[in-house]
């Protein structure tokens, strides 16, 4: 049995049916647990209680990027192997990615207010996320605008491919443009002052929670898209008959 069998809509629907309750349960458990645990952590000696925002900001930012990568992979699978479920999964993932980007932007801006003294700073990372958000919006708008579903999948796939290159390019262009005052990666091993474990473990849990939340939402949304496609196919067939 090959992995591609899950690209069959009926097989996909049957498999996810049994998987979903477990996934939803663990997603709720981990995300609520991680975020709540994060909320209970003590204050940081420099940032005060604003450090608690990290448990939303970092997982959302991580998912914002990873969801785009997932869409890129799904688009490539559609373009190369023509599995409809793959294209629909990319379509289903985009709104989740856009919301995650929005959360990362909003929490970043709110955090920046006391830390940098301004709501919005054209800091390279915030700017990159704004650009990423624009790409998400364009991608979603293109799906909505094209009527024929296969053409829409093809066009958005090409856009995702080109958009990925330009999102990456913009990231480095923005770095060149403004060095910024964002703190370095919070979890990177090289940085001198590593995050203390008081914050690290809740953060890991929150990241896992956001990831599971994404998976659960993705499966539900993909199932929605499959049902819509099936309904449209049945209606079109009756019109013809």
């Amino acid at each position: 049995m090959s992995i591609w069998e899950y690209a069959n809509p009926t097989k996909f629907m049957r498999t996810t049916e049994g998987l979903l309750p477990w996934l939803v349960g663990s997603a709720v458990l981990c995300s609520v647990g991680g975020v709540f645990w994060g909320f209970l952590t003590p204050e940081d000696f420099r940032q005060g209680s604003t450090v608690k925002i990290v448990f939303l900001h970092v997982p959302a930012a991580m998912m914002a990027i990873n969801i785009w990568v997932m869409m890129l992979v799904a688009s490539l699978i559609w373009i190369i192997r023509r599995h409809h479920v793959s294209a629909l999964a990319a379509k289903a993932a985009a709104p989740i990615g856009a919301i995650m980007t929005l959360i990362a932007l909003a929490t970043g801006a709110i955090w920046g207010q006391p830390m940098w003294g301004t709501w919005w700073e054209w800091d390279p990372r915030l700017t990159s996320f704004l650009i990423l958000f624009l790409f998400y919006v364009g991608y979603i708008a293109l799906w909505a605008a094209v009527e024929d579903p296969d053409s829409a999948a093809d066009l958005t796939g090409v856009l995702c491919l080109v958009g990925s290159v330009f999102a990456l390019l913009s990231r480095y262009a923005v770095l060149f443009w403004n060095q910024g005052l964002h703190q370095g990666a919070s979890l990177s091993v090289q940085s001198g002052e590593r995050m203390s474990s008081v914050y690290r473990y809740p953060l890991y849990l929150a990241m896992l929670g956001f990831f599971l939340l994404f998976l659960a939402l993705l499966l539900i949304r993909t199932r929605t898209e499959i049902r819509r496609r099936r309904l449209a196919a049945l209606q079109a067939r009756e019109m013809r008959a």
Binding site: G138, L142, A145, L155, L159, V162, A173, F176
Partner: protein
């Protein structure tokens, strides 16, 4: 291939609004900005490079939907797709025609608008150089956006939504070159980056645009 280029240029001159429109838009923009930010040399000069580059971007955007929309309506796009000319080449030629009708006049006339916006004289060569290097990428990326949205109702707004984010790297480096030129700093690094982006775009985007066109033609 040359036949297609000549035809597109001829159409742009005869149908009117091809060559002049972008420059006219650029002129209006340069005239409006001082009304908005004030006539002071001290306030205008620092923002001039950015205004000029954003203006070039918007002037380019204005005429993008014409690249394929007219050919799609009258059926010549179908005929071109069945012609011996590869669609990738047709896309590249049409982007070149777009650049000659909108990008090139902008490059040539940019110093004039630079004067209007109090851009320091030592920045003029850099303004022209950055536009000359950057606008071909704008036309090519615009052709990609036009290829994706050809045949869509309400395609115009979507086109700007798709294309403008793609313009960001070009805009950043182009404006940076002009700004550094105005301040008398070294411009080599952003110039290299801009040239790299433009060359990469010219080499690869025709394939993406042709793929999108084929999807829209079926």
């Amino acid at each position: 291939m040359i036949a297609l280029l000549i035809r597109d240029l001829r159409l742009a001159t005869r149908a009117g609004g091809g060559f002049g429109l972008g420059v006219a838009f650029f002129l209006i923009l340069s005239a409006l900005v001082p009304f908005g930010v004030g006539p002071d040399r001290a306030t205008l000069a620092p923002v001039a490079p950015g205004i000029l580059w954003v203006g070039a971007l918007l002037a380019c955007l204005l005429s993008l939907d014409r690249i394929f929309a007219l050919d799609h309506e009258d059926g010549s796009l179908d005929l071109l797709a069945t012609a011996p000319l590869p669609l990738e080449a047709a896309v590249a030629i049409k982007a070149l025609a777009h650049w000659i009708t909108t990008g090139l006049p902008l490059v040539v006339s940019a110093p004039l608008f630079g004067i209007l916006l109090q851009l320091p004289v030592q920045a003029m060569p850099w303004l022209v150089a950055s536009l000359a290097l950057g606008t071909p990428a704008l036309s090519m990326l615009g052709a990609f956006g036009a290829a994706i949205t050809v045949g869509l109702r309400r395609g115009g707004l979507l086109l700007s939504l798709l294309v403008l984010p793609l313009y960001i790297p070009t805009l950043i480096f182009g404006a940076e070159i002009t700004r550094r030129g105005a301040e008398g700093m070294a411009t080599a690094t952003p110039l290299m980056f801009l040239a790299g982006i433009t060359l990469g775009v010219l080499a690869l985007i025709p394939f993406a645009a042709a793929a999108a066109l084929r999807v829209n033609l079926r």
